[in-house]
Structure formats: structure tokens, C-alpha cells
């Protein structure tokens, strides 16, 4: 059981109706479900560096005595 303010309940009812939800509880369940899926998703930024850049750093580190560790 979660208690929400009257003001928030009113907004949820309005937005729920706009999105086709007659029952505010179903709408809240839908939103929370989406949020949780997003929070649990493993997708990252996909940020990658070029092989050239990684290779350059690797060469330097080898020269500094970094072996295979």
C-alpha cells in the first residue's frame, strides 16, 4: 500500500485516462513496471574507443613494464 497526496492522485487519474487507463491502480502499476524494467536493463552507453587509440596506449604500457597483467 502506497499513500499519495490528493494532488498527485488527481494528476495520475487525469494522465491515466488520457492513456486509456480507467483504473488509476492499473496506470500506476504500468508506470512502475516500465520504470523498473528501465532500471533493471543492462544497456549501457555503448561508448567505445578506436582500436588505434587502444593499441597506442597498450604499446606505451608495455614499454613501462606492464606485462600480461
Amino acid at each position: 500500500m502506497v499513500t499519495v497526496s490528493e494532488d498527485l492522485k488527481k494528476k495520475l487519474e487525469e494522465k491515466g485516462k488520457e492513456s486509456g487507463f480507467d483504473d488509476v491502480r492499473e496506470y500506476v502499476h504500468h508506470i512502475l513496471n516500465r520504470f523498473m524494467k528501465k532500471l533493471e536493463s543492462g544497456r549501457g552507453t555503448g561508448k567505445q574507443f578506436s582500436e588505434e587509440e587502444e593499441g597506442r596506449v597498450k604499446e606505451r604500457l608495455e614499454a613501462l613494464g606492464y606485462l600480461d597483467d
Binding site: 587502444e54 597498450k58 613501462l64
Partner: protein, 465 residues
């Protein structure tokens, strides 16, 4: 130079432990120029890096967050895509970008690249002589077996190439570049210089031959005989022979410091020549220390003993001199970003966990009671350092570099009576051990909670977008 913000020159000397600088009480002369800057500023006697290797350490300096918090916990080739994802997903404030947004010209004189170059309008990596030599060598590959004798001849005629070929001695090049920026830059500038000269293999240029020290050699060989990884022992035996034994290695480390010290002096001189020394904040620190045979670790930086994590931290603010004040209170690399932001008259970075050291700088007031230290690259370890004690917990069964275990699963040292951490009192001081163990675990949890919150907030922001 029309500006109201101070310039910032940030000197980071890789693998420089605090104890080998004159201003930190070293018996030999290694650092007259850095000592002079310390006399114009404030020196932190008990400053610590967040970890003991470069990639995560510099990331901690530039974010003000421990490695387990910002996500980059390994070094070099060990950094995973997941770590990079976790780092970028949090949308952390980053010192160079923060200063760039505030109107600073930002210059990164380093080759680490990848995320390290973010926020720098100029980044040095591709211009160094090392890159030139590598390119030239690859073009000459068709010479096959003739290449090596030709290279030896060239090294005889042009000895500077011999040093450069060892990959990291960009010290003179980045110094020249920094001086050029100092002479020509109009905007308030932030120059980050990363000197690698004090890092293994301590290629410090010409060095006087020194007599072998049999006792030190025996100690070195005894430590190495316990190592269980052939590639590591081979590497150190080669260095041992090249440098003239253990005494030669120790001297090479000191000589490398002298070499960098002279270059730091040249930068200070350039600031004075342009009349902006007083308008410039200078910070001198390292990313981690170095174990020079202490704790069964030869010439490397792993383990969370003070030799590997106690770093020099000298801050010369802009404005009137500070008369070389020395601060005994604890300081962490996490505090550097908030401190520089405040000294530059900017707001505090919201995502940084560190605290501004201004209360310490201005009123000698303490800003923190403890420092959490982390190691993930070669071992999985955590340590908690307070003003009078050190707790170390090593979770991994062996060090990936040495193939053996360093220290016990839990260690406790009483720093006031045993600053060299020689007497482990974990079994005698059960109460203190429990207290430190709990405090360490609590600090770890707090960092992870904060990271998870930032990751969740970032995902919710994406959802709203």
C-alpha cells in the same frame, strides 16, 4: 592577460611516493624546485590516492569519487567495456570539462587518451616523439635484420633517441609544450602535465655508476625468489642487471625524480617570466606511490601500504604566498576537484564525494576522518586509513603480477608508533580491528549506494527524454 579566474597548472608525477621528496623529509637531495613551490604554498603531509594504479587513480582525481564509485577499477588493458559503460552512464562531473565550461582553456599533456582526454581542447597524445619513432620504425620494417644494427648506430650518434625509444620519457616534450602555452595563452588556462619519468623502468637519462650493495641485492633477490610468475621475475632480473643491482635501481628512481623536478622548476620559471606566477594555482601530486622493496614488493605499486598510496600533495594557491605551511590532517585525492573548484571561484561539483580542503588551507581545520583505499587491478583489497591506524583487507588469494599472496587476509597497523607498517597488530587488537573493519565496510557500502543511485537517476532521465 584579461581574466579574473586563476590559471591552474596541475603537475602529476606518476609513481612518485611522498617520502622521496626533500619537502617530505627525504635525506637525499631530489627535489629543490618542488620544495620551493611547497614553500610558496601548502603541503599536505598525509595525503592519499584513492587507489594504487594510474587509470582509476586519475579518474578519481578528476571526478572526486572512489574507483568503485566511478566504475573504472582496472588499469590499461584490464579496463573492461562494462567499466567504461558504468563510468559514462553516471554522467559524472569531470574536472577538465568543468573548467572548460567555466571558460578555461584546457590542455592535457598526456597520452593515456580514451576517457582521460574528455574536456581538453588540446590533448598531446599524437604529437610525441614516441609516436614519431614508432611510425618511423614501422616504415623501416622492410630492412629486416639490418634494422637492429642501424638502430644501435643511430643511438650512438643521437643518444636522445635511445631514451625516447623507452616509450615514456616525454617529460621534456610536455614541459616545452606547457611553457609554450604559458607564454602564449590568453584565457585563464588549465594545464595538466602527466610526467611518466619516475615510473618503471626509471629511465632517467645519464646516471653515475654506483657501487653494488650486496645487502640490498640479497634483499631484492630474496623477495624475487618468492614470486611465482616467470614473466615478472624475468622482467625484474633484466632491470636488476641493467641498473646495477638494487642500489642502482634505488638511485635510478631518485635520479628520475631529480629529472622531473628540474622540469617542474622550468615551468615555475616560465610563469614568473610572464608575471603570472602569483595568479596561478600550482598543484603537485602523483597518482600513487611506489614500493621500493618494502612489504615484499619490488619496485612496483601494488598493495595498499602507505608507500604505494601516500602521495605528495602540494597546493600553491593564487595570490599571496602561504609561507610553506604544512597540514597534518588527512587529505584525499577525492578532495582535489572540490578544492580547485572553490579556489577558482566556481561552485562545488555536485557528483564529487570529496570535500574542499579550503578549511585546512585557510584555518588548518580537518576536513575528513578517514580515507578509503581500493585495489582491484592486481589484487582485490580495501583499506581504511585514519590519522592513527590502517586496516587492510585482502580478499584475493594471490597478486596477478607476482603470483603470490602479499600480506594476510586482514592486517592492522598503528601508524603513530609504526609508520612503516611493519608490526601487524590485528591479532592483538581485536576491538580496534572490529571497529576498523566495520567502518571500512560502511564506507564501501556508502560508495556503492551512491553509484547505484546515480545509475538509476541516469536511466530515469533517459526514460523521461
Amino acid at each position: 592577460m584579461p581574466q579574473d579566474k586563476p590559471n591552474i597548472v596541475f603537475v602529476l608525477i606518476d609513481a612518485l611516493r611522498a617520502g622521496n621528496l626533500g619537502c617530505y623529509g627525504y635525506g637525499k637531495t631530489t627535489s629543490p624546485e618542488i620544495d620551493r613551490i611547497a614553500l610558496d604554498g601548502v603541503l599536505f603531509e598525509n595525503a592519499f590516492s584513492a587507489t594504487n594504479c594510474t587509470d582509476p587513480s586519475i579518474t578519481s582525481i578528476f571526478t572526486g569519487i572512489n574507483p568503485s564509485g566511478h566504475g573504472i577499477v582496472h588499469h590499461g588493458n584490464g579496463v573492461t567495456k562494462e567499466e567504461i559503460d558504468e563510468f559514462y552512464s553516471q554522467k559524472l562531473e569531470w574536472l577538465p570539462s568543468y573548467l572548460q565550461k567555466a571558460g578555461y582553456g584546457t590542455y592535457g599533456l598526456d597520452w593515456l587518451g580514451r576517457w582521460h582526454k574528455d574536456g581538453f581542447e588540446y590533448y598531446f597524445a599524437k604529437e610525441s616523439r614516441f609516436e614519431l619513432i614508432k611510425r618511423t620504425n614501422s616504415k623501416l620494417a622492410f630492412l629486416g635484420p639490418l634494422l637492429e644494427p642501424l638502430r644501435k648506430m643511430r643511438n650512438l650518434v643521437l643518444p636522445s633517441f635511445r631514451v625516447s625509444e623507452n616509450a615514456y620519457n616525454d617529460g621534456s616534450e610536455i614541459t616545452e609544450k606547457a611553457i609554450e602555452i604559458i607564454r602564449t595563452s590568453e584565457a585563464p588556462f588549465f594545464i595538466f602535465l602527466h610526467y611518466w619519468d619516475v615510473h618503471l623502468p626509471y629511465n632517467s637519462g645519464r646516471m653515475k655508476k654506483r657501487a653494488r650493495d650486496e645487502k640490498l641485492d640479497k634483499e631484492f633477490l630474496g623477495i624475487l625468489s618468492a614470486y611465482r610468475k616467470k614473466s615478472t621475475t624475468d622482467y625484474y632480473m633484466r632491470l636488476f642487471r641493467e641498473k646495477g643491482g638494487a642500489a642502482g635501481l634505488l638511485e635510478a628512481y631518485d635520479q628520475s625524480i631529480r629529472r622531473v623536478d628540474g622540469m617542474v622548476g622550468a615551468i615555475a620559471e616560465a610563469l614568473k617570466e610572464r608575471g603570472i606566477y602569483g595568479k596561478t594555482i600550482i598543484i603537485v601530486t602523483s597518482d600513487h606511490g611506489e614500493s621500493l622493496m618494502e612489504h615484499g614488493i619490488v619496485f612496483d605499486h601494488h598493495g595498499l601500504y602507505d608507500v604505494s598510496v601516500r602521495v605528495p600533495l602540494i597546493i600553491k594557491p593564487a595570490g599571496p604566498g602561504q609561507s610553506g605551511r604544512r597540514i597534518r590532517h588527512l587529505a584525499s585525492h577525492l578532495d582535489v576537484f572540490p578544492t580547485l573548484a572553490e579556489l577558482a571561484g566556481l561552485g562545488a561539483p555536485e557528483t564529487a564525494d570529496g570535500k574542499s580542503l579550503l578549511p585546512a588551507l585557510e584555518k588548518d581545520a580537518p576536513v575528513r576522518e578517514l580515507v578509503l583505499l581500493e585495489e582491484e587491478h592486481l589484487q582485490n583489497a580495501r583499506a581504511l586509513r585514519t590519522a592513527d591506524a590502517k586496516y587492510i583487507r585482502t580478499d584475493s588469494s594471490e597478486c596477478r603480477r607476482c603470483g603470490m599472496r602479499h600480506g594476510k587476509p586482514e592486517e592492522l597497523y598503528e601508524i603513530v608508533s609504526d609508520p612503516e607498517e611493519l608490526q601487524d597488530v590485528a591479532s592483538d587488537k581485536g576491538g580496534k580491528l572490529g571497529e576498523m573493519r566495520r567502518a571500512c565496510a560502511e564506507s564501501e557500502k556508502k560508495i556503492l549506494r551512491m553509484k547505484n543511485r546515480r545509475l538509476q537517476d541516469s536511466k530515469l532521465d533517459e526514460l523521461e527524454d
